[in-house]
């Protein structure tokens, strides 16, 4: 036991070994600090905000984040200059493309130039039908301010919809105010282009495009119940 101790002591006092350990610890320290800082930077970056919509044909969020190489070819090929690349402070991971429907909605070009331009498959360049695109889903979020709910016939969202009478229909409903025409979104037809949100006449849109997982409910195995 005593001998062991002495042996250890001799080991530690060996200057060459001390140096080796010092550099070793230094390197481990650097790696550890680097990983912690880097990882926390990655995690602290805000995920894509709900109002930042991806171009048509985009992969699901996390897959998109790893597949997109932030080149901006889709941005350059958008004929209406709708797409933007997120900056450091943007509403999506830095350098990734997005658009905000309330500012400029997707015009749903039939030849889908943005998706064709993508070199990596973050946008599906083989997509042929823009009506199959899933940029989100329109949701009539506010029933209190929507003019059609107030008994007026604004119906602007229905009129501007590029897939009119399929993605949005006006459903007659009898209420105490009289007959209402309620704009109703059909999620299987809606592409999330955002034209309805852009043209809503209110100062804040009552109909908004949300990512599908935010905008839609989902029934489980039973029509009632959480699983």
């Amino acid at each position: 036991m005593a001998e062991d101790k002495r042996h250890n002591k001799a080991n530690l006092e060996d200057p060459a070994k001390r140096d080796t350990f010092r550099t070793l610890f230094k390197r481990f320290g650097v790696v550890l600090v680097g990983t912690i800082v880097g990882q926390s930077m990655i995690l602290s970056r805000p995920a894509r905000a709900a109002e930042a919509l991806r171009p048509p044909g985009a992969l699901p969020d996390l897959d998109f984040d790893s597949a997109c190489i932030r080149c901006g070819l889709c941005v350059d090929d958008c004929p209406y200059d709708i797409l933007k690349l997120a900056s450091w402070a943007g509403p999506a991971p830095q350098g990734t493309p997005y658009f905000v429907a309330r500012e400029e909605p997707c015009r749903m070009c039939t030849d889908i130039p943005c998706a064709k331009a993508c070199p990596t498959g973050a946008l599906d360049r083989h997509m042929t039908d823009i009506k199959k695109a899933d940029m989100g889903v329109a949701v009539l979020v506010d029933h209190e301010t929507c003019l059609n709910y107030k008994g007026l016939t604004c119906s602007i969202c229905w009129r501007v919809c590029p897939i009119r009478d399929e993605a949005i229909t006006l459903e007659p409903v009898q209420s105490e105010k009289g007959k209402l025409l309620i704009p109703t979104v059909h999620s299987d037809k809606c592409t999330g282009c955002g034209t309805c949100e852009k043209h809503c006449v209110l100062s804040e849109a009552a109909i908004r495009v949300l990512p599908r997982e935010l905008g839609l409910g989902l029934s489980g195995r039973n029509s009632v119940g959480r699983s």
Binding site: V30, V31, G34, T35, G38, Q39, M41, I42, L43, R45, L62, D63, D65, S66, A67, C68, I69, R70, C71, G72, L73, V75, D76, D77, K84, L85, S87, W88, A89, G90, P93, Q94, G95, A117, C118, P119, T120, G121, A122, R125
Partner: protein, 281 residues
Amino acid sequence: MLRRLKRGLYRHRWLLMRRIVQISILLAFTVHIPGYGKIADGNLSSSLWFGELKLTDPFILLQSFLAGSSIALPALLGAILVGGFYAFFAGRLYCSWVCPINLLTDLAYWLRKKLKIKGNMSLSRSLRLWILALALALSLFGGTLAWEMVNPITRFQRELIWFSFSGAMLLGALFLFDLFVSRRAWCGHLCPVGAFYGLIGRYGRLKVTATPSESCDASGCSRCMTVCPEPHVLAPVVSKQAQAVTSVDCTRCGACLDECHEGALSMKLDLVGMVTRKVDE
């Protein structure tokens, strides 16, 4: 007068060529030609030249692959073209002839010399390799393109091409760091993109080569080393231990060639070396 101008141009021929190439590339990405559009769409991470030629940065694609994405064919072909070019010629050609950040850091260095700023925090030149490893590891574990959260190259381009200025602070910080804190800190010590290109250009054929010259021996000036952004790469040549610069850190910027008035250095495509080495093996 004219002769002086001519001599001045000659003495800066490599620098001038380099600036012309760098700025042309920058303009190709930014200037809209009426009726044609831009010569190059996209940015340095992936681009479309003349509407035909697709190029992709192999480093960024590698991060994307590590982050868990499968690699699509157009990006892969583009990366092979770019990677192949640099592997054949010289990896860090990218740093001195293509990268726009070089304009910024060269300006910082020039200003540093003009202002006679002596203070220098010394950094290890192998730091960039560690940062490279960290960027790749974080891509793997973070599921995102880790270096692209920082990368000043594409950030600078994004700001020029698509007019956003929120990243300008980082570029400013980088400039000031190079200017006041540490000499040639970014390009020579920190940037993992340069480290990556250096590695893939390990056996690049384009080399600064010494021609045996008596005047070089006699003068013993080693002025080439004082202007070199990575002076250690020239050491074996100046001390006559090697015929050519073989270090991965050499950016082939040609500063040494501009500075050498003895004609002892030249840029050579060493194809013979490739053949003889194969024979040797």
